[in-house]
Amino acid sequence: MASYGLPTPTPAVDVETEEFWTATASGRLLLKRCDSCGLVIWYPKSLCPSCHSTSTSWFEAGGDGTVYSFTVSRRGEGPYREAAPFVLAYVELDEGPRLMTNIVDCDVDSVRIGQRVRVVFDDTGEGNALIRFTPA
């Protein structure tokens, strides 16, 4: 997997999210769908936040989305102290959910709301990858 020049902190994997994080290692973005009402769920959890069913299933997202909002963070904190400037964004997947993420592999000042983006998988070196996006 490629590297995109940003820190790759290791996610806290638990039994509820293990399948999600394992899939990222093979370049797959999994989402949960409620078996009862069909709602696409984000972030991954085993309780449907709408109908409160506890029956949910994973499916693979297409990986395309649109920038819903973004900011150029010019002062990073913690592991991002040396990473600024970088783009923090909400990307709306074509499946519906808006994900907190980074837009990478582009001029930070070129990002715009409404821009089409495509998922990339940024290897953490710990058997999983962070979900980031790059201009489509």
Binding site: P11, T17, K45, S69, G76, Y90, N102, I113
Partner: protein, 389 residues
């Protein structure tokens, strides 16, 4: 059941310092507790309800109740409700409800901390279920509010100059406050020419980082009647949580859309009745979205509303944050809720600085925002009135 008229704010005290290298956090809580109780004409011996949030050191309310020497046979109500900076606004509502239910009669609320000297790690946040889906991407407080500002600008045409007007109004008030961290009046140009921290928010769109604290004492009508000090009547309270809504977050509004109507309904007043407003001002965008959500203008009109000095006391349409707010005066331990209550009490008592005192105010609104506009927030709205209202 309603809390309207069932409780009174009898004491309020803001720590005068903004940089406190030489005291512990518990000491600051004690200083503001003593200050607010003295303001009310009461003492620690009288306290039978204690309220604090996560800034209080130790084990919820238990450690500080111990440190303060509150009488353990007497304290009958404890509340460690944590809603970030909005906690203390909510605490006043909770205290009023507890008093109305006769669970306590003298409720003490304290906030204190020293972020300029101590780094308090949010260790519990690392175990939050959402943590790995948000925090790994380099989020910080400014960038989260910047996401909201960027979307608000995109949808409604809000400009950096309009955001700057919020800071300008706060700074015009702060110049009269001898304790203000930033006592100098600034211009729109100075705000938008300050460096970008997280686009579109500039350094001067952000609140100050200060040590300090504050405390408020809420009492029953019987206790209020026994005190010589002018108190302030609690008319209504509302609170809410707004969250990312299963990945369908709308960044253009806040939890005030729910907390506000709850408070107005309980207080039986409308926006037109509000003579003074303390509006949480962690960032300029926080104020713009909140005044829309509280119904002072239509959604999307906040940027235009604040033009022409609308927020400037004493004669603007909505005089706000006459102490200089979190943007200029004080945002003790990164939590501004208590100072919002305190300045509203000053206004209703006629004890704000004469240059910013609203003439004969009858009703004041206090709004707290905790957490983040871009993820999950606590919102609390409080409406206060004159003692005899």
């Amino acid at each position: 059941m309603t809390i309207r008229g069932k409780a009174f704010v009898a004491g309020a005290y803001e720590h005068p310092l903004r940089d406190i290298p030489d005291r512990s956090t518990a000491q600051i809580h004690a200083e503001v507790a003593l200050g607010a109780l003295a303001d009310a004409g009461l003492s620690l011996d009288d306290v039978d309800g204690y309220f604090c949030a996560a800034d209080a050191p130790g084990f919820g309310a238990l450690s500080m109740a111990d440190y303060l020497g509150l009488h353990q046979h007497k304290v009958s109500y404890l509340d460690s409700n944590e809603m970030g900076g909005s906690s203390y606004v909510a605490h006043v509502g909770h205290a009023a409800a507890a008093i109305a239910a006769e669970k306590c009669s003298v409720a003490l609320i304290t906030l204190g901390g020293r972020p300029r000297h101590e780094r308090v790690m949010g260790s519990r946040m690392r175990t939050a279920p959402e943590s790995s889906f948000e925090s790994l991407y380099g989020v910080n407080t400014v960038s989260l509010y910047a996401l909201a500002a960027q979307r608000h600008m995109h949808e409604f045409g809000t400009t950096s100059e309009q955001l700057a007007e919020v800071k300008v109004a706060a700074s015009l008030h702060a110049q009269h406050n001898p304790h203000a961290f930033l006592p100098k009046a600034v211009t729109v140009e100075e705000v938008i020419e300050s460096r970008l921290v997280s686009d579109p928010l500039h350094l001067l769109d952000c609140c100050v980082v200060t040590d300090g604290g504050g405390a408020v004492v809420v009492v029953s009508p019987e206790v209020a009647n026994s005190l010589s000090r002018q108190s302030v009547k609690v008319l209504g309270h509302g609170e809410a949580t707004k969250n990312p809504d299963n990945g369908r977050i709308d960044l253009t509004y806040t939890g005030a859309v729910w907390s506000g109507p709850r408070a107005f309904e309980e207080a039986r007043v409308s926006q037109a009745d509000i003579d003074y407003a303390s509006i949480y001002d962690s960032f300029t965008i926080t104020v713009i979205e909140t005044i829309e959500d509280l119904g002072f203008c239509a959604k999307g009109e906040g940027g235009r509303f604040v033009l022409d000095g609308a927020l400037v006391a004493p004669h603007g349409r909505l005089p706000f944050n006459t102490d200089g707010g979190g943007l200029c005066n004080n945002h003790p331990t990164n939590r501004g809720g208590i100072t919002k209550v305190i300045e509203a009490v000053r206004q209703l008592r006629g004890e704000a600085h004469p240059q910013v005192q609203v003439p004969d105010p009858q009703v004041a609104l206090v709004h707290g925002t905790g957490g983040s506009l871009a993820t999950r927030m606590g919102s609390a709205t409080l409406i206060l009135g004159q003692e005899d209202s």
